[in-house]
């Protein structure tokens, strides 16, 4: 009953603390959007110009121009994903193409000769010595030209093999490392950003605790029959709700921007719930050492930056293993729960692993949460709940 009263009161206060709530709920989606824009704008793109001089051939009452067909093949076919990185533009003059290469507006110029169709047709009809010479023009010192030329050459050969119904002498089979073939960099950073949205709870939770001290309403709690558990539990419960809403909003934003996840949403919610609890427990430490919302916004920045940038939440980082417990690496960053939460989310959302595989992470989060809570509760009680 009293716990429920604290929950209702805390929920009302949280909703009416409009700006801090908006800040907390918007930070996750904001980071998602920023990373989406960064990954989109940093995707490599190669501009290829094609001058089609092919005169074509006629037969069976129709004219075939393999030069034109090759351009369509460049544009439409998507072998793997690399062809999406090639931007093909057809030009009509060689000089125009050269100018664009010089001004770095294009990476490679391909000139299809006038006999291109004829050569392919000769091959198709059994002339094994017919050769078509395509000209590749570009700055050989420029890496973009080299990549453009390699991929253009691959596409040209692929087209020729299809037309002449030939087979490659050597077939190369590519084996992706891990799940690198199906996920993008954006997909890789989303689990960390889901945790960023929870790290922002540090402010709302700390302020929710400390406002009782700042408004001196903690006196009313001391005068009443409310227990410390009911007080802390009621506020904590509301903050877990805020955390789950924050994760949901962040995940929805990520999905709308193309994030693809594999694993179970239920496991993700379990991880998010546990991480929220750990952040709230840590917030109790911040609330314990501060006396006002203003102090929280100053003091809270330090742990927030540590949690965001040194746990792999904002971006993946390498961490040195200090030692291992039952094969689970213990790192310095491991003292901060987000590092375990991100590891667990990566395993479930990206690697599609089951809950058994994240037991070490869950245990680590629970142990650290308990540790944070004990430290926070002891200091909070000494500084703010003690009779004095």
């Amino acid at each position: 009953m009293k716990l429920l009263s604290v929950i209702i009161k805390s929920l009302r206060e949280q909703i009416r603390s409009f700006w801090i709530l908006i800040l907390t709920l918007s930070m996750g989606p904001f980071f998602i959007l920023v990373y989406f824009l960064i990954t989109e704008s940093s995707k490599p793109q190669y501009n290829i110009l094609i001058l089609n001089s092919d005169t074509g051939i006629s037969g069976n009452g129709k004219i075939t121009n393999h030069g034109e067909n090759l351009i369509s093949f460049f544009t439409l076919s998507k072998p793997d994903s690399i062809s999406t990185l090639l931007i093909v533009t057809e030009i009509s003059k060689r000089s125009t193409g050269i100018e664009k290469l010089k001004s770095k507006k294009a990476d490679a110029l391909i000139i299809i000769p006038g006999t291109f169709s004829q050569s392919l047709n000769s091959r198709e009809t059994g002339d094994s010595i017919a050769v078509s010479n395509l000209e590749f023009i570009g700055d050989l010192t420029n890496t973009n030209y080299l990549i453009s030329a390699v991929w253009a050459n691959e596409l040209v050969n692929e087209y020729a093999l299809q037309i002449t119904k030939s087979k490659r002498i050597i077939e190369v089979n590519e084996t992706p490392l891990g799940i690198s073939a199906s996920i993008s960099y954006f997909d890789m950073v989303v689990p960390g950003l889901l945790i960023v949205s929870l790290i922002m709870l540090m402010f709302t939770a700390s302020i929710a605790f400390v406002s009782e001290v700042e408004n001196k309403t903690i006196l009313r709690l001391k005068l009443s029959r409310l227990t410390a558990f009911e007080f802390l539990g009621g506020i904590g419960f509301v903050q877990i709700l805020v955390g789950l809403v924050s994760v949901a909003v962040t995940l929805i934003t990520a999905i709308l921007l193309g994030f693809q996840y594999e694993g179970s949403l239920v496991i993700m919610l379990i991880i998010a719930g546990l991480t929220s609890m750990s952040i709230i427990a840590f917030s109790l430490i911040i609330a314990a050492v501060t006396k006002s919302a203003g102090e929280v916004l100053v003091v809270g920045n330090f742990p927030m930056f540590l949690f965001m940038f040194f746990t792999g939440a904002a971006f993946p980082i390498k961490s040195e293993t200090l030692f291992s417990i039952a094969g689970y690496p213990v790192t310095l960053q491991g003292l901060m729960t987000p590092s375990h939460a991100i590891s667990a989310l990566n395993k479930t959302l990206i690697m599609n692993m089951d809950i058994r595989s994240i037991i070490p992470e869950i245990v680590s989060i629970l142990v650290l949460t308990l540790l944070y809570f004990i430290i926070g509760a002891v200091i909070f009680k000494r500084r703010h709940l003690r009779l004095n």
Partner: protein
């Protein structure tokens, strides 16, 4: 009052903060249905005493006894309205009264009618759904009193209840305290003698943590004798000349208390001595700028006991 029995007893209550003795061996008894005033200057130990009664501060020594109630229930027994307005700024008046009741374990059914009744009694009906942060100073004070009363306590403790109130709120709060004091016990701390005189059935005068005197306001005033007070303000006096004036006036067989630039002269028919006092002043080269004739006040009692003004 005494016939109704006592509700609270303090036995040798002491509180030390390092070398400072804030409350020194305080013993007193408070009866049911009385308005009890703790009077004293700032630092007298009034609030420290109240905090110990409320359980907010552990005593260094002594005992607090609530008669007829289980000591475990003392939190429900007391309604405390601190000097500073303490409320939840983001909650409406009704919301926070309901919350305050719930944390005392009051049933949900009875809280809302009780909250609405209190708001009406304290003239806050129209502010029921107003957020506390938007209330005026006087309204905040009234809300603070409502919060202290929501769980229907047996003892209402008010720390400087009229401090910072506008005249309208002051009258309303004063009437409410009088009404409440007919049914329950009220303990109020104040350094406002007028407030204590008007409201309290009994008054304990404290200074430097010690109880100086405890009685009804009438009896306290009688301790310095019957009669009126003549307050004579000197325009040009220094320490020596005021001392001399006090000494010579005292020879007229009247009670004299001297201040920095004034004399308080007390006698059953003090006005008859005014020409003689004026003559003494003139003979000492002193100019009387103001003369007031008034009845005894609690401040006079305090000055009589301590030799200094309450606000000093």
């Amino acid at each position: 009052m005494e016939s109704t029995g006592y509700i609270l007893q303090l036995f040798n209550l002491t509180k030390r903060f390092a070398s400072l003795v804030a409350v020194n061996d305080l013993s007193l008894t408070i009866y049911k249905n009385e308005i009890f005033g703790l009077l004293g200057p700032n630092g007298a130990g009034k609030t420290t005493t109240i905090n110990m009664i409320c359980g907010l501060l552990p005593p260094t020594g002594g005992t607090i006894k609530f008669t007829g109630y289980d000591v475990k229930d003392y939190k429900s027994l007391i309604g405390y309205c601190p000097q500073e307005n303490i409320f939840y700024p983001k909650l409406t008046c009704l919301e926070q009264l309901i919350f305050a009741g719930q944390i005392y374990g009051i049933s949900s059914k009875s809280i809302k009618p009780r909250a609405l009744e209190l708001l009406e009694h304290l003239g806050m009906k129209e502010k029921t759904n107003e957020r506390a942060a938007r209330l005026s100073g006087g309204m905040k004070r009234r809300l603070n009193i409502c919060l202290a009363l929501i769980h229907n306590p047996e003892i209402l403790i008010l720390d400087e209840p009229e401090a910072g109130l506008d005249p309208q709120s002051r009258i309303l709060v004063r009437n409410f305290i009088k009404m409440f004091g007919k049914e329950k016990t009220v303990i109020l701390t104040t350094h406002n003698m007028d407030e204590a005189d008007r409201l309290a059935d009994r008054i304990a005068i404290m200074d430097y943590g010690k109880l100086l005197l405890l009685d009804t306001p009438q009896n306290l005033k009688r301790t310095i004798g019957e009669g009126d007070i003549l307050e004579i303000v000197i325009e040009n006096g220094d320490g020596d000349s005021i001392n001399k004036l006090a000494e010579e006036t005292g020879s007229l067989s009247v009670n004299v208390v001297k201040g920095s630039n004034y004399l308080l002269v007390k006698h059953t028919n003090v006005i008859q001595y005014l020409p003689a006092i004026k003559k003494i002043a003139e003979s000492n080269g002193l100019i009387i700028s103001e003369v007031k004739l008034r009845e005894n006040t609690l401040e006079d009692v305090f000055i009589h006991l301590t030799g200094r003004n309450l606000r000093q």
